[in-house]
């Protein structure tokens, strides 16, 4: 039955395998032109025994990649194409794949599993592949098939489930039953390890569809017993996968755990204490870590519901709290397993243990404290460094969760003990001590004893200057966290940081320059600490900051001379430029116009230079810095517009990095507010790009609200000159305002509210702008729809306070500005919806909303009652 295969394609595949991009494109083009044909040629090569093995494997993978491509769009299009093929055409691909699953060659069956899984994921939710599950079941059950085929069949099932879940589809009960039959059969203790492993993985992936089965006590017990049995396998991979399946049960079926909890507790704790394989230990720990997350969610949800007078569906059984006294001491032993030479991204048992303890503390809160405290107190000054370090890490893990009243006194006692540990002979201990102080600064700064504050500052300063990159980076982070505690919306004449400011900035800057600044995030931590310190600086530090501005600008200018020959060098340069942009931004937020005036040319030159060089991650910082500059120098910013506009437009067009796009839109608004009419010459091009943003379907939806409200900013800035854009922008706004969604979830509600708020902002801006330009009559034709929109809002049960506040303002604006031109509006404004909006807004908790509502109410009364 060896079908003829396409030798040309074979060559093409081999070239592609050798890295020939051209070959790959050629193939993509062929697939574009003839979808079915290309799949058929691929499957032909894949099953051809005579073909080059490499080409065969690649052929199979190409089938998989047709539906699971790097680009989600292409995958979606191909899935649609597949759905449109007729049954016979689809069988011509599916049947050979099922056949190939039975191939004794591991490579072939394994590849077939991946390709068939993609198609199964598309078809199973529609019951379009009835032969699939029976065929797999036969493979697993019939002794004539080798273990490799059984494993591949189970893998295929696992992949299918995973893909069905990612595609957000479900399968019916019958299909799930079939799957679970295959899996439970495969996982049983008499099966060889490779089969059990594949079955355990498939089980993990299929649990999401097994809701009905888990509801039936006997099936639930059968599934659980099979997995728990597998945790005792000789093969560490099977044990690990079994635990992963258990984790999945805990996350998906928390309510079913009760019956198995005693066993699960014993299995996991035994594994954590005595299994020799780290990966297995980590998965067992993960059970508790995940269980904590589930319980935290349940507790939060219950509180939320209780506040609304409702009952939660699932109650939190407090398994973690119940286990705390016994589980925590076991987990603490993992803290002494520090790996001295671990890779930075490696997740070790020690880390897993610490994370789990952290989660437990957040779940059980005060309950963990008396369990951990004896260990910490006994060991924090132990002569053995592993114990000292474990004690610090244990303490860190309980910093978040327990109430301030409970943990605060311990924090207070800890500070004098932690300070000398910053100079411990062991680097890991020093690192942990510094991290601990950093966490204290973030979470419990008020418990640092006032009299020790100078000592803490001095110690951190010393570590920044002379610590290893790790320790210095922790110390800089501590300063960042400490600075955040001083954030205030009010001007401060002075604060405690003032006296340390000069010294800290000097130390941080010199450490940012250290040759080992790339290590352990040192440079970033130092520079971010500098930015944060500047942001919270009190007035008495400003003279010093004004001196710092030219210094940072010189540094910025020097970055343009840096060598960028290797990718590492380029990354470093980009990073430094981003960090300096942030510092410049923070400085401009603090200094006044006369101080910054002589330096702004230099600052703008640097920022524009960076923007003309593409690296999305820094562009955000640059645009934010530019906003800060515009806010200080106000109208004078207009001089930079000619040079800036192409860069700004490029940022607005950066649809793929939507964050950049959002920041750039904000910057357009800020500039408009500051230079007002002088933005007018650039509005044609800006408006064109903004409209493009709105039309684009693929752009991230969170870009759209800021774009809409930017219309209002522009209209307010240019007044009557907005007229040419009026019609198009009103069309967009009315369309956005009428967006309705059937199935509402919290995310959608939030988004719709954001959308509406921005539409309202735009209307307000446009009305005010046209009014300034004495062309308000142009708005007349839109008043009807806008009032209709407002009446929709009045009835919207999901409307939030921001929307209400903007709506009542718009109502006032219409009454005030439009009724003199359109007297008939008086009747339209004298409607229940308007009164409703005002009434709701007046009783708002937000003072600004109340004020706006009072104003609007007065204006409305005047407008309605005037003759």
């Amino acid at each position: 039955m060896a079908a003829p295969y396409d030798t040309q394609l074979e060559q093409l595949l081999l070239s592609a395998a050798a890295g020939d991009k051209n070959a790959e494109q050629q193939f993509n083009l062929a697939q574009e032109q003839n979808f079915l044909g290309s799949l058929q040629s691929l499957v032909n090569i894949f099953v051809a025994d005579g073909a080059n093995p490499m080409a065969r494997q690649l052929g199979g993978l190409m089938i998989k990649n047709s539906f699971f491509a790097k680009s989600e769009e292409v995958a979606k299009i191909n899935q649609k194409r597949w759905e449109q093929l007729d049954a016979a055409a689809r069988d011509s691909i599916k049947n050979p794949l099922l056949q190939a699953l039975r191939n004794p060659e591991r490579v072939v069956s394994h590849t077939a599993a991946q390709a068939a899984a993609e198609i199964a994921a598309i078809e199973l939710p529609y019951e379009e592949w009835p032969a699939f599950l029976p065929s797999l079941l036969e493979n697993v059950r019939d002794p004539k098939y080798p273990d490799s085929v059984k494993a591949a069949s189970l893998e295929c099932l696992g992949y299918s489930c995973d893909r069905i879940a990612t595609l957000d589809k479900v399968v019916d009960e019958k299909t799930t039953d079939g799957m679970l039959n295959v899996i439970i059969d495969g996982i049983s203790a008499n099966r060889p390890n490779q089969v059990r492993l594949a079955a355990a993985a498939a089980l993990r992936n299929s649990l999401g569809f097994a809701e009905k089965n888990m509801e039936k006590p006997e099936e639930c017990t059968a599934i659980m017993n099979a997995i728990m049995e597998a945790t005792r396998s000789q093969d560490p991979q099977v044990r690990m996968m079994a635990y992963e399946a258990i984790v999945q049960v805990a996350v998906l079926y928390y309510g079913k755990l009760q019956e198995f909890m005693t066993n699960l507790y014993q299995l996991t704790t035994t594994t954590i204490q005595s299994d020799t394989e780290d990966n297995v230990v980590k998965s067992a720990i993960e059970f508790w870590t995940s269980l904590c997350e589930v319980e935290q969610d349940l507790i939060d949800e219950a509180q939320d519901l209780q506040a609304r007078g409702l009952q939660p569906e699932t109650t939190c059984m407090q398994y973690v709290a119940a286990a705390t006294t016994h589980l925590v001491p076991i987990l603490v032993t993992t803290l002494t397993k520090q790996e001295e030479n671990a890779d930075e991204d490696e997740f070790t048992v020690h880390m897993a243990g610490q994370l789990c303890l952290t989660n437990i503390a957040q779940t059980v809160e005060d309950v963990i404290v008396p369990v951990l405290v004896p260990f910490i107190q006994q060991n924090i000054q132990s002569p053995e460094w592993r114990l000292r370090d474990a004690a610090i890490m244990a303490f860190i893990s309980e910093l978040e969760g327990p109430s301030q009243a409970t943990i605060g006194p311990y924090v207070q006692q800890s500070v004098p003990i932690l300070l000398p540990l910053l100079n411990d002979e062991n680097e890991i201990v020093r690192d942990s001590a510094a991290h601990c102080i950093s966490r204290i600064c973030l979470l419990h700064v008020q418990y640092i004893p006032g009299e020790l504050f100078p000592a803490v500052m001095q110690a951190l300063d010393a570590k920044i200057k002379e610590g290893s990159p790790k320790v210095a980076s922790q110390a800089a982070s501590a300063i960042f966290n400490l600075a955040q505690a001083f954030r205030s919306t009010e001007e401060q004449e002075t604060n405690i940081l003032s006296q340390y400011m000069q010294g800290l900035l000097t130390s941080l800057l010199s450490s940012a320059d250290r040759p080992d600044g790339d290590e352990s995030n040192l440079r970033v931590a130092c520079m971010e600490a500098i930015s944060e310190l500047i942001s919270v600086a009190a007035q008495d530090v400003r003279p010093m900051l004004s001196g710092a501005l030219p210094e940072f600008l010189s540094r910025f200018e020097q970055t343009f001379n840096m060598s960028v020959l290797s990718p590492e060098e380029k990354n470093r340069r980009d990073q430094i430029q981003g960090l300096l942009s942030a510092v410049i931004q923070s400085l401009y937020r603090q200094l006044d116009k006369p101080t910054v005036a002589p330096h702004t040319d230099r600052a703008m030159y640097c920022l524009m230079q960076v923007l003309s060089n593409k690296s999305s991650n820094i562009q955000e910082e640059c645009f934010s810095a530019i906003s800060a500059i515009a806010d200080v120098i106000e109208a004078d910013f207009a001089t930079y517009m000619d040079q800036l506009i192409p860069l700004l437009l490029a940022g607005l067009k950066n649809f793929s990095a939507y964050q950049v796009c959002i920041v750039a839109v904000g910057t357009v608004g800020d500039i408009s507010r500051n230079i007002e009419g002088r933005i007018q010459p650039y509005c044609d091009s800006i408006m064109a790009v903004l409209i493009e943003c709105l039309k684009d379907q693929s752009i991230h939806r969170s870009v759209k609200p800021p774009v809409l409200s930017c219309f209002g900013d522009i209209a307010m800035a240019i007044g009557g000159a907005f007229q040419p854009y009026l019609q198009l922008s009103m069309m967009m706004l009315m369309q956005a305002g009428s967006t309705k969604v059937e199935n509402v979830d919290d995310d959608i509600i939030d988004y719709l509210n954001m959308l509406r708020e921005s539409v309202l902002e735009a209307y307000v801006g446009i009305i005010q702008g046209l009014r300034d330009g004495n062309v308000l009559q142009e708005f007349g034709q839109y008043v009807g729809p806008v009032l209709h929109f407002l009446s929709d809002i009045a009835q919207d049960p999901h409307r939030d306070d921001y929307v209400l506040s903007k709506a009542v303002g718009l109502l006032g604006d219409i009454a005030m500005t439009m009724t003199p031109i359109l007297p008939q509006l008086k009747t339209e404004l004298n409607q229940p919806f308007a009164a409703e909006i005002v009434r709701e807004a007046i009783s708002s908790a937000d003072q600004n909303t109340v004020e706006t509502a009072q104003w609007a109410s007065q204006i409305l009364n005047q407008a309605i009652n005037s003759s």
Binding site: N205, E286, A321, A352, P449, A476, N521
Partner: protein, 539 residues
């Protein structure tokens, strides 16, 4: 693909994490959004109020020769001044020019106050306050300009004699003018006692009282209270003959504010006014307490209103309990003690500090009052906690309460209840701190001595071992090196009298270990036996 679904793969990366660019960016973004919102609101407020005043003579561009249809900028200020001062200018132009000045001043950042003062327009502005009593709009706009100038410079306004006319405007026919003049006077009075007294010379209180009686809007009332509060502020306090008549009206206003909607800003100003008015001798306090506001204040604390309101409330109550015994008793019997725990747990260090100060007034009151305080176990515990674990300023005030109790006539009955809540520990910990106040160190030593003395006379073993457990003996030992002779002497005396014969037990457990008893709470259900028997689950 086997491990892709594992939750563990996403776990690394948070271990000992240091600050990254996203943390910084998030923080900067907050600043940007905050400023953006502020400026947008400001822009709209200007636009909306601009329209508000122009409805009558709907014509913005009447100064067409000056502005030629564009908006005024700082550069136009000299020309605007010429229009205002010019004898040829029409009333409409003068009004328009004044509005332009006001709009320029309404910017929150760098308002061009100096540019306006430099162009010599101020005398004319003050003149315009009284030039034509019928021209409401011009008076209103002028008062607004002066209000904004007063945020940075009050000297020149007062030098031009604005106080008298502004005080007269408090009872003008137009509510807008009334409100604006009070706002302006409030700003001026806030600049200091000198500026305040200049206004007081023109007897503003009767006028203000009339506005309190019949406020035409909530916003007017708010500015009226702001003005009153600033006029009462500062030492020496204004003469009581001026302020007494307003006290009852303020109490009535407070009822109104509490009855209608929660207007915290107005309430805040009102409460501060009371805090200034209740500062003084017994008669002053009597007059304010005569309104019965202490009952309402205590209710307010119990309702847990925002912490901004707590600061003035605690100050007022503190003033009251600092009065004579009767006055203190009144406040206590109104339920003061019930609300102290809330205040001592406040997130504002200032409120905690002021609360301790209030308690020290009670501790130094009559023996009955001191012993009533002593019976409040929750307060005493919390007080000892404040004395041990808080910002230094709070600790000092809290310690002061404890030493005051131990100096009082009932000191012997203080010792045992105080020890029960750990008071000795807080005294010792205080000695570890950086106390520069020699007097207070002496008080603390004296307090310790009182305790030890009591122990020696009334118990078999004395309290010296407790002092040692807290590490006190070592500390007092160290004080023998103190440069102050009296402290040195006290330290020697304590050591000789109470610690000489005592054999110190080195094996006493550190205090931190001994308080695990404090943690026996929070566990819903004890599911495991504590001796390690295999657990069985019963959920």
């Amino acid at each position: 693909m086997l491990s892709e679904n594992s939750r563990i793969t996403n776990r690394s990366g948070n271990f000992k994490r240091t600050v990254g660019t996203t943390d910084g960016r998030r923080s900067r973004q907050q600043t940007t959004l905050h400023i953006r919102k502020q400026r947008k609101d400001e822009q709209l407020r200007n636009k909306r109020s601009q329209v508000h005043i122009m409805d009558e003579n709907n014509n913005i561009m009447s100064m067409s020769n000056v502005l030629r249809g564009r908006k005024a900028t700082v550069a136009d200020i000299p020309q605007l001044a010429t229009v205002i001062t010019g004898s040829q200018s029409t009333a409409v132009d003068k009004l328009e020019a004044t509005k332009c000045l006001r709009r320029l001043l309404c910017k929150e950042r760098n308002p061009p106050v100096n540019d306006i003062l430099n162009c010599g327009v101020l005398p004319h502005l003050v003149y315009n306050l009284t030039a034509d009593p019928e021209d409401y709009s011009l008076i209103f706009e002028t008062a607004w300009v002066l209000t904004n100038v007063a945020t940075t410079n009050t000297k020149e306004i007062l030098a031009e004699g604005a106080a008298g006319p502004l005080v007269n405007l408090i009872v003008h026919d137009s509510p807008d003018v009334r409100e604006q003049s009070m706002w302006c006077l409030g700003n001026i009075a806030g600049d200091g006692v000198e500026a305040r007294d200049e206004i007081l010379r023109h007897s503003p209180f009767p006028h203000l009282k009339r506005n309190l009686e019949k406020p035409s809007t909530l916003s007017l009332l708010q500015h009226c209270l702001w003005c009153i509060s600033n006029l009462c502020r500062g030492e020496p306090s204004p003469d009581r003959s001026m302020t007494d008549p307003i006290v009852y009206e303020l109490a009535i206003t407070m009822d109104k504010l509490l009855g209608v909607s929660d207007n915290d800003e107005a309430l805040n100003d009102l409460l501060w006014a009371f805090s200034y008015l209740s500062r003084g001798d017994e008669a002053t306090i009597n007059h304010v307490m005569g309104t019965g506001i202490h009952f309402k204040l205590i209710t307010l604390i119990k309702k847990k209103r925002p912490k901004v309101l707590m600061a003035p409330i605690v100050r007022i109550l503190g003033n009251f309990v600092g009065g004579n015994d009767n006055q203190t008793d009144c406040v206590i019997s109104a339920g003061l003690f019930d609300c102290i725990p809330n205040l001592l747990a406040s997130t504002s260090a200032n409120v905690r500090k002021e609360t301790c100060w209030m308690l020290s007034n009670i501790a130094r009151g009559s023996p009955e009052q001191a012993s009533q305080l002593l019976k409040q176990r929750q307060i005493m515990e919390s007080l000892v906690d404040r004395a041990s674990h808080d910002w230094w300023v709070v600790r000092t005030e809290a310690i002061y309460v404890i030493t005051s109790l131990l100096q009082s006539n009932i000191r012997t009955s203080v010792v045992v209840p105080l020890l029960a809540v750990g008071g000795l520990g807080s005294l010792v910990r205080f000695l570890e701190g950086p106390c520069a106040d020699v007097g207070l160190v002496k008080d603390v030593l004296e307090a310790i001595e009182t305790i030890l003395d009591f122990g020696m006379k009334n118990t078999e073993v004395g309290f010296t071992h407790m002092l040692d457990e807290y590490g006190g003996i070592a500390l007092i030992d160290g004080l023998q090196e103190h440069e102050n002779e009296e402290i040195y002497g006290m330290a020697v005396r304590i050591l000789e009298n109470y610690c000489g014969a005592e054999d110190v037990d080195e094996n006493l457990a550190p205090t931190a270990d001994s308080d695990t008893g404090a943690f026996a709470f929070g566990v819903k259900k004890q599911l495991f036996d504590s001796d390690g028997v295999p657990p069985s689950f019963e959920f």
